[in-house]
Amino acid sequence: MMVDASAPPTRRAVVPLRQGTIARRGSVFLSRHPRLRLSLLLGAPLFWLGLVYIAALAALLITALWTVDSFTGQISQTWTVDNIVAVLTGSLYQTVTLRTLGVALLVTIIDIVIALPIAFYMAKVASPRAQRILVIAILMPLWASYLVKAYAWRSVLSQGGIFEWLVSPFGGHSPGYGLPATIITLSYLWLPYVILPIYAGLERVPDSLLEASGDLGGGTWSTLRLVVLPMIWPAIIAGSIFSFSLSLGDYITVNIVGGANQMLGNLVYTNVGAANNLPLAAAIALVPILIIFAYLAAVRRTGALNNL
């Protein structure tokens, strides 16, 4: 018998629940009012996000409907859709939008393709120790400044740079500065942001599932395709949101390695930073906003939004 029967029934004085303290009363009150509890939890963050962020965005979008008086430089608050029409119909904006979208998509695809095998190796093949070292190795470059890394790529890709030196024995050439260089550099910059969620996603796939699939006769490829991929799909999408949206808004990298090209970010930047034309900048900013919203709407169903 495991209960010690010789021990007398422990009849200690019952310690009463504490009543009456303010914290206690607060707890009691709150527990009776879950709605209040919820509003206390969400009040501050929603105030922050709603008032700081959404209001700012809304204000920006409204600005797109105004114009800058070129005579005074002041924003004149007369409603007009001229800016938006100009952005939608201007061939410049269409070209740049397509270019930006292409770059962002390519960067995203490249990053996912590179991230998948590495993340898989980290999560499912490497020893726990190696896993830890790999995570550190992936995270560390994040701390070398974005700018420093972009300039490093400028150096790597220059004529006579390391890239040229590495590929010339195989008859290759550095792509020089331009869109390929932009895509390479952006892929590089955002790669850790794509690897990490996919790695986390893969870690959540239990080994037993892989074994079960193998047990049922699934080959490596079919296991990956039928079991692993669907399970980490949200994680992949989550990673893609980073690479896609960060690329979509970038204007510094393309300045450094992009040759003579410009992206949407440059147009926005120039209009607001140099030309003082906030309404036009806001109208241009609508383009990436719409693209991102379309993207988010498309991926929403995968549950990726809970997996960032």
Binding site: G73, Y177, A274
Partner: protein, 397 residues
């Protein structure tokens, strides 16, 4: 480009760029006399030092050794005058303009565009150059110019200036060019290796070229372009665009590109040439057509709390020693003739053509294009800076 080109001179350009706020220039511009709000009388005599002075300047104009211990001309001033310097840097002329409105600053270093706005808004006071002994040493061709005086009243002390030159790779670009045509009409010879300064204000470079090569367009001031003239300039750049390797907006980029050979010809600054690694086969030239350039001005706040220290700073920074330090650090020509004796590099003045009035005369100093033509034409409306911005974006495509 505000941040991309944080180097002061380029930032100064941004300042120009941003000041599409044309009202004040138009209403109170040089041709029409001083702004009504501006104090029209300057201080007549100096009093005791107040013990401190607050400066507002482009990054790097006021260096106290905190970025680089060897770059410091503020400490000497503090020792000499007992005025403790607090300084703040700004990124755009707009920012400078609104910061001056706070009344917290005694002195501001302003670019050609901001300066007149500040005068018109009554934020800066006339400067009695008699109280600034070192003013005598300033090159005459910089004094009382349209960007630092109004109706014959001086509003500040010139700081430094420079030109946007043509640089070329001596091995690739032969014979040595004397005209901008190597980057315009003949740019296809160097396809993929041509560069240009990445800013709408660069359109003035084309206008300068067209002034010489297409006189029928009637351009008399590269910052006063009507629609036809702008279109002609833009066309010139659009033809150049297909041959451009990259645009540059900071001089590190330009230096690297010339050193590696990614770029062989294009606009540049003297300081870029001077920064090239030894042995880089590159030279600069001020082409026959002339060139654009910049010049900045030190001004005193209308309600300065420490006007005496402010005057002391203006005098100090115009002194040959300080002027030499500040302008050499940033790679521009000093405004004080005597500065040339104090540069670390004895050839500094020569390489920047400091004091060369003929050279300086070929420079069209940056001004903000505004609807009211700067060249005095009244029969047409000129294109303003926002038109230029749109045009520049379309050029880049």
């Amino acid at each position: 480009m505000k941040r991309i080109s944080a180097r002061p001179t380029s930032v100064a350009l941004t300042g120009v760029a941003i000041a599409s706020v044309a009202l004040l220039l138009t209403a109170c511009g040089t041709s029409q006399g001083g702004g009504t709000a501006a104090p029209t009388t300057a201080q007549t005599e100096l009093g005791d030092m107040e013990g401190s002075v607050s400066l507002l300047a482009w990054p790097g104009y006021v260096e106290d050794g905190s970025n680089d211990p060897t770059v410091d001309w503020v400490s000497a001033f503090e020792e000499q005058t007992g005025c403790t310097v607090t300084s703040k840097t700004y990124g755009t002329s707009d920012e400078a303009f609104s910061l001056m409105k706070t009344g917290d600053y005694d002195v501001v270093a302003a670019s050609g565009d901001a300066s007149l706005r500040l005068v018109a808004a009554g934020d800066v006071a006339p400067v009695n150059t008699d109280l600034i002994p070192n003013y005598d040493g300033i090159f005459d061709f910089l004094k009382m110019q349209s960007w630092n005086s109004v109706d014959g009243v001086s509003y500040g002390i010139p700081h430094g200036y420079g030109a946007n030159l043509l640089m070329y790779n001596t091995e690739v670009v032969t014979p040595a060019p004397t005209s901008w045509n190597v980057v315009f009409d003949k740019s296809s010879d160097y396809k993929g290796a041509v560069t240009a300064y990445d800013s709408p204000i660069s359109i003035a470079d084309a206008a300068v070229y067209l002034m010489a090569h297409q006189p029928e367009l009637g351009i008399t001031n590269p910052y006063a372009l009507d629609k036809t003239q702008l279109a002609a300039s833009v066309d010139l750049f659009k033809n150049q665009r297909i041959n451009i390797g990259e645009y540059w907006s900071d001089y590190l980029k330009a230096v690297q590109a010339f050193e590696t050979g990614d770029t062989v010809v294009g606009t540049t600054w003297q300081v870029i040439r001077n920064s090239l690694a030894e042995g880089t086969p590159a030279e600069v030239v001020l082409p026959d057509e002339g060139a654009t350039g910049w010049s900045d001005t030190w001004m005193i706040a209308a309600n300065a709390k420490s006007p005496n220290c402010a005057y002391a700073w203006l005098d100090y920074i115009a002194s040959p020693e300080a002027n030499a330090q500040a302008t050499e650090y940033f790679g521009e020509a000093p405004s004080n003739a005597g500065a040339c004796d104090f540069t670390v590099n004895p050839d500094h003045c020569a390489s920047f053509h400091a004091g060369d009035a003929d050279y300086a005369a070929q420079i069209w100093y940056w001004s903000t294009p505004i609807a009211k033509c700067l060249d005095g034409r009244t029969d047409v409306t000129c294109t303003d800076y926002s038109d230029w911005t749109t045009a520049w974006q379309e050029i880049k495509g």
